[in-house]
């Protein structure tokens, strides 16, 4: 085979896996490639995409954040409780409430994680494990274990609304959630790949000592990254709350694992130093395609877990062997 093609293939294993999966599901079920299903897919991968976006920063730093699922739940709950105060809210008010809740709660949780790690040198796994338990606990404390319900319909616009309404689609075509996620992901991708701060994230992830010696304020980079990770998790959480039009204290349970899986599938190394937000989106797409395709084919959710796990292993093994070859 041509060397160039071989090189491209090995560099883009995740894209190849995604295409193969889509072809397989498309052949097995004729509904898979309908525009409606493909559009649904984009909104179904949105929440995981938001969580994975921030996680990419943290994982590039060589850290980890397993609190994202719980932080998402807490932000969602807070936005729902805040939303209850405005029974006649407009779409604009709803978005302000949702986005502010996500940024404030997510940012605060991320800041605590970051401070613990930079000021007190607590291992990221332990810090975020504690945050995972605390945020989940607080979600139950705030709600007393019950979902927060009775929110205005406009509250659901961000998560469940659709725009562009041709006559054939009275409910709209493009999910607002997809656009919202795309904007955030694009911003986070640019911040990482095109700015000095982004370069610093890679530098600190590759070699902390060298980064420090070259004058990078390492602790600041770490702190900001954890805050960003918290914020994207918070935004993911408010999207769940908006989509379901209520706050579920159990929301996002176990989502950290899917987000980490998506990031790793996207080629971000758990050792740190390399990775990209854009590529993590391919990881999210793979997971969403498997879930969606298997739902369409009526395959038991137990098998979905087995298949997702196997594909992660497969992709990472391919990725590792490719890295070995380049060395």
């Amino acid at each position: 085979m041509n060397n160039k093609v071989k090189h491209w293939l090995s560099k883009n294993v995740v894209v190849v896996v995604l295409i193969v999966l889509c072809m397989a599901f498309g052949m097995a079920n004729k509904i898979f490639f309908t525009s409606k299903n493909l559009i649904n897919l984009t909104s179904q991968m949105s929440i995981n995409a938001l969580l994975a976006t921030g996680l990419t920063y943290v994982i590039i730093l060589g850290g980890i954040d397993i609190s994202v699922g719980s932080v998402a739940a807490l932000s969602g709950i807070v936005s729902a409780v805040a939303g209850l105060q405005f029974p006649d809210m407009s779409v604009f008010t709803a978005i302000i409430i949702l986005v502010m809740s996500g940024i404030v709660i997510g940012g605060a949780c991320g800041a605590i994680n970051g401070l613990m790690i930079t000021k007190f040198n607590v291992v990221p796994m332990i810090t975020t494990l504690a945050m995972m338990t605390i945020a989940r606990g607080l979600s139950y404390v705030v709600t007393g274990g019950q979902p927060v319900y009775g929110l205005a319909n406009n509250f659901a616009w961000l998560g469940a609304g659709r725009i562009i309404k041709p006559a054939s689609e009275p409910n709209g075509m493009i999910p607002v959630l997809t656009i919202f996620t795309a904007v955030i992901v694009f911003f986070m991708h640019m911040l990482l790949s095109k700015t000095v701060f982004g370069r610093h994230v890679y530098a600190v992830g590759s070699n902390r000592t060298v980064a420090h010696l070259s004058g990078i304020h390492v602790n600041k980079v770490v702190l900001v990254s954890y805050i960003l990770c918290g914020i994207t998790a918070g935004l993911g959480g408010i999207c769940i709350a908006s989509k379901l039009q209520n706050g579920q204290p159990s929301a996002g349970d176990g989502y950290e694992m899917y987000a980490i899986a998506a990031t790793v599938l996207g080629g971000t190394s758990l050792i740190g130093g390399s990775g990209s937000v854009g590529r993590a989106m391919f990881g999210c797409a793979i997971i969403a395609v498997i879930n969606n395709g298997m739902n369409l084919m009526q395959i038991s959710s137990y098998w979905q877990k087995v298949v997702i796990g196997s594909i992660i292993l497969f992709a990472v093994i391919l990725d590792m062997s490719q890295k070995k070859n380049t060395k």
């Binding site: 179904q44 319900y149 159990s250 959710s301």
Partner: protein, 342 residues
């Protein structure tokens, strides 16, 4: 050094705040304990009259000690059961402790051991993972503790009595509601959670009735794993395949919440029949102009009755040595717009 000290202090603070979170639980156990001890002292002081009194005293003058393990303190359903247990124990003068099983067989097994070690005369628990807790139940029974189950049971002959919702019947009621609401030729679906044995029972009952119905097609089944967002995705995918899906039976209120969100977003007319009887279900059903257009019916459990029944049966067993029946099913009932406000 300073930094280390700060770290230690912060850790202590964190630990303290976490303990604070569990405060209500500990306090509850303690108050229950002390009230028991006071009674004990009172009973010891007036041993002669003790036998005539209507308290749960053993012939030796001691108060009966009973333990409960609820499936999870994070579910409204179990919170309501726990409330009823507390009220009934106070009423009967039982010295009681309630623990949180966290829906984890391992945690529950440890708690059974702890309660046995504390000298409980009887223990009642919800066996959310029946196979997982069976060894612990049998070990406790071997030490002479009377074992009871509520909500979910396990197939051990050591269990004196079980009280819980007849979930198979609940599933049948769900199917009957679908038959009442649908027309011939309609297609229907169910969102379940087969890992939880009580929800699996609902599925069994539902499928038994719906599969016997020749004019209604049972098109889809999906597992929402207790996650409302997952239920939303399942429903969204089904509506792409069949936009005319007539009704969906959701074997839990979070599933119904998720399904409702997907149906509204897709602009479909699918009807939702929920299960649990939680407040959000009643509110949705009553909202005739809004959510009530889709969420029309609910199969409700009766948690207070479950808590009350199991406590009363434990008391009866400890005082008389027998129970009414070894399997008491508490009938679920249907909630619609007519009776939701009650």
């Amino acid at each position: 050094m300073k930094r280390k000290l700060m770290g230690v202090l912060l850790c202590i603070g964190l630990a303290a705040s976490m303990l604070g979170g569990c405060g209500s639980k500990t306090e509850e156990a303690v108050t229950a304990d002390t009230s028991g001890k006071e009674e004990e002292q009172a009973a010891a002081g007036t041993e002669a009259e003790a036998a005539d009194e209507e308290t749960a005293d053993t012939p030796g003058g001691e108060t009966y000690k009973v333990g409960f393990i609820v499936g999870s303190r994070e579910h409204v359903f179990y919170n309501l059961i726990e409330e009823a247990i507390g009220a009934e124990c106070e009423e009967l003068g039982l010295d009681y402790t309630v623990l949180d099983g966290q829906l984890d067989a391992n945690v529950m097994s440890d708690e059974i051991q702890d309660l046995t070690a504390q000298g409980c005369d009887a223990i009642a628990l919800s066996c959310n993972d029946a196979a997982g807790v069976k060894p612990a139940i049998e070990a406790a029974a071997a030490e002479g503790v009377a074992m009871f189950t509520f909500d979910c049971t396990c197939d051990s002959d050591k269990i004196v009595c079980f009280a819980g919702t007849d979930n198979v019947e609940g599933g049948r009621l769900g199917a009957q509601e679908i038959i009442r609401l649908c027309e011939a030729g309609d297609k229907v679906a169910m969102i379940g959670y087969p890992t939880a044995s009580s929800v699996l029972d609902r599925q069994t009952g539902f499928e038994e009735v719906i599969n016997g119905q020749s004019d209604i097609t049972y098109e889809f089944f999906g597992d929402y794993t207790g996650d409302a967002n997952k239920a939303q995705q399942l429903m969204e995918d089904w509506l792409v395949q069949d936009p005319d899906l007539a009704a969906v039976f959701c074997a839990g209120d979070p599933a119904a919440t998720g399904a409702l969100a997907a149906i509204k977003a897709a602009g479909a007319d699918t009807l939702v029949i929920g299960f649990d009887g939680n407040p959000e279900a009643k509110e949705a059903i009553l909202d005739a102009e809004g959510n009530g257009k889709w969420w029309v019916s609910e199969i409700s459990q009766n948690p207070s009755e479950i808590g009350l029944t199991i406590t009363a049966q434990m008391y009866k067993y400890l005082t008389t040595g027998s129970v009414d029946s070894d399997y008491i099913s508490i009938a679920p009932y249907i909630i619609t717009a007519e009776n939701a406000a009650e």
